[in-house]
Structures are given as structure tokens and as C-alpha cells.
Point group: C2
Chain length 173, copies 2
DNA sequence: GCCTAGGTTCAAAATTTATTGAAACATCAG
DNA sequence: CTGATGTTTCAATAAATTTTGAACCTAGGC
């Protein structure tokens, strides 16, 4: 209820008002959205990443929300996803309360981390089940053709699990 | 309305009645469903593939529908998808009307074809857009950091397009 | 402690995607 | 041609996923 004592001396508080995405920004966002779609990553996440990717400096929460015109919830969840997959970094300025975000230096590394997080758990979880399916088939005296298929599947799974830590190292390298 | 003249001499016509999936079949289906999910392939498609994969001989439309308990439409669309991506082969017996299906010999090749069909079009379609975004940034005198990022993205896209036909050859090899 | 800027959570709403089933189509035997 | 079998199409429905927004935390300044 109290009227603002200062007009707008530099720290605006009420209506930040961000401009909508420019055509070139939209184009890049479309690209990221499409690519993300292949991996099942939601549109909002791709949009956030794209915005950070074309922006010169790190952006804070409100900028992202404002420029993309998306809800707080989506921005929060999107940043969480990108953080969890090591696709963005926070740049905290000393004495400042807000965090500001920028893309991780290597997009390649980011993608690898992303794939890793999707494929690895599936492979690991499948391991015992696949072995059981093969054993079962052998026990039942299934056709050699089927046994062969299931064996190959098992070998693949094992090899993939062995190779994974080499191709997709967690922290060090 | 006419009563069956023959009891069940071998060709049953009214109630084929297929048995539901066995535990070991379900386990394998779960694996394929999970993996397919990563690539955005629908559950029903993965289930069909899994069933063909554990089955000894080729299966016809009705068997697939019956054992998976899914609708005609889903089976038809699923088979179309698998056909289009060269993941299954039809084995037509001479004189028989129905087609019978079995998985392509190489699952690896199938997966490659699948990836190809998802990623390549996206890369191709993105090419001009990405170039435009980069040109735009240069023209606007954007930060060197941003220019560098966009350049790298362009180089990647180009290289991926060059490599694609080598890694993922369409017919011959 | 108390207040507030900054951010998270999560159930409900909106949107997207997959599945169904009835009608249309195709192909072959007679 | 006719009738039956085998398959595809596609609008309607169901299911899964994403987005929203309001309530709820949390840390830091006073």
C-alpha cells in the first residue's frame, strides 16, 4: 500500500518487463527443442538451454522466466534438470543473492552426460533379467535360433556396461 | 448362423484363443520397452518386436494381436513402423495369403536405421537455420564467446552430416 | 527472532501422444 | 463379379507427459 518513494533509480522492483525472444533466438531454440525431443527432453528445458546458449553473459532466474514467458515452476524444474545433467554452471558473484547461469563449456560433454543418465540405468537394471530370460530359454530347450538371439543380447548388454565407464567417465578423465 | 460342419479338424475359424505372454516373455518385453522409450518409440511397437524376438518362427498378424492382446490398429501401425525401419522381415509362404513376420537378422543394424531416421532429418533441416543464426550474430557484432559457440555448433552439424552416410549407409555397405 | 527476496514443490490443468475399433480398402478364390 | 479374408485408416478415446501457479520452504539482512 505504500507508494514508491523512488521513481526508478536503477533498481526496478515492480515490473522488470523482459523482451520476448528475437527471431534468431527462436530459430536456435527450435533446433535445440527438436534435438532434445529425440532424447525425450521436454521443450521447456531445451528452451532454457538455448537461451543461455545464445546469451552473452550468465542469466538469472527472473531473466530466464521473463524472456521465455514461462512459469516459475518450469524454470525451476528446467534449471534443476540442466544442473543435474551438468549442462549448466552457476556463476555466483560475491555478495549477490541470486545465482546466474551459463552453459557448460562443452556441449559434447553435456550430451554424453545426458545419454549416460538415460541408458546406463536401463542397461544395469536389465542385466539380471536378460540373464534369466536366456537361462529360461535354454532350460526349456528353445530353438537354437532363439537361444542365439538371446545370447547375443546378453553379450551386448555386458559389453555395453563394460565400455560405459570408459566412454562416459563420471567426474575425472 | 450355420453350425460348423467340422468340429476342429486343424483349421479353427471362430475362436483362435491365444495364450497370454509368459513371464520370460514379459521380462524381455519390458527390456525392449524401456530401451525403446529412450528413443521415443511407443510401447506397443517395442512389445511387438520383443514377441517376434523370443518366438521361434515368424508370426502372423493374428498371433501377434492375440498374444499381446492389443487392437488391430495398433498391430498394423506397429508392424508398419518396424517395417519402415527395417527391423522386421516378412516371410511369405507361397500360396498363403497372410504374411508372417520375424526380426531382421541384425538388431544392431536395426537400431542404426532407427537412429538414422530420427537424427538425420533433424540435422539436415537445421543446417540452413543454424547458419543463419551464426551469420546474424556476426552481423550484430555479438560477443566473441557467443560467436564461438555458434560456430562450433555449425561445425558439428556439418561434420555429423558428412559422417552420417558413412556410419549409417542406407542400402549397400 | 522477524521479514523478505529467491527458489522449490506438487496437485491440478493443459497439452501431447498412443491406442482403439469400426468402417474402408485390397486381394484372392471360386 | 461376389464373397470372404486380411490389412489399413483415422476419428474418437484413453493414457502419459508437461506446464502452471499458489503454497511452501530457506537463507540472509536487520
Amino acid at each position: 500500500m505504500k507508494p514508491p518513494s523512488e521513481k526508478s533509480a536503477g533498481r526496478r522492483k515492480s515490473r522488470p518487463s523482459f523482451e520476448p525472444l528475437q527471431p534468431h533466438e527462436i530459430e536456435l531454440a527450435d533446433f535445440f527443442v527438436r534435438m532434445a525431443g529425440i532424447l525425450g527432453v521436454p521443450r521447456s528445458v531445451a528452451e532454457i538451454y538455448a537461451l543461455l546458449y545464445v546469451s552473452s553473459g550468465p542469466l538469472d532466474f527472473d531473466h530466464i522466466q521473463g524472456r521465455l514467458g514461462m512459469s516459475k515452476g518450469s524454470v525451476s524444474q528446467g534449471l534443476k534438470f540442466l544442473r543435474d545433467h551438468e549442462m549448466i554452471l552457476s556463476v555466483k558473484e560475491k555478495g549477490a543473492r541470486r545465482e546466474r547461469w551459463q552453459p557448460t563449456p562443452s556441449l559434447a560433454a553435456s550430451l554424453v552426460a545426458l545419454l549416460r543418465s538415460q541408458v546406463l540405468p536401463a542397461l544395469e537394471q536389465a542385466q539380471p533379467g536378460l540373464q534369466r530370460v536366456l537361462a529360461d530359454a535354454q532350460q526349456r530347450g528353445a530353438q537354437p535360433e532363439v537361444i542365439e538371439r538371446l545370447s547375443r543380447l546378453n553379450r551386448w548388454n555386458s559389453r555395453a556396461l563394460e565400455l560405459a565407464p570408459l566412454l562416459l567417465p563420471p567426474p575425472g578423465a
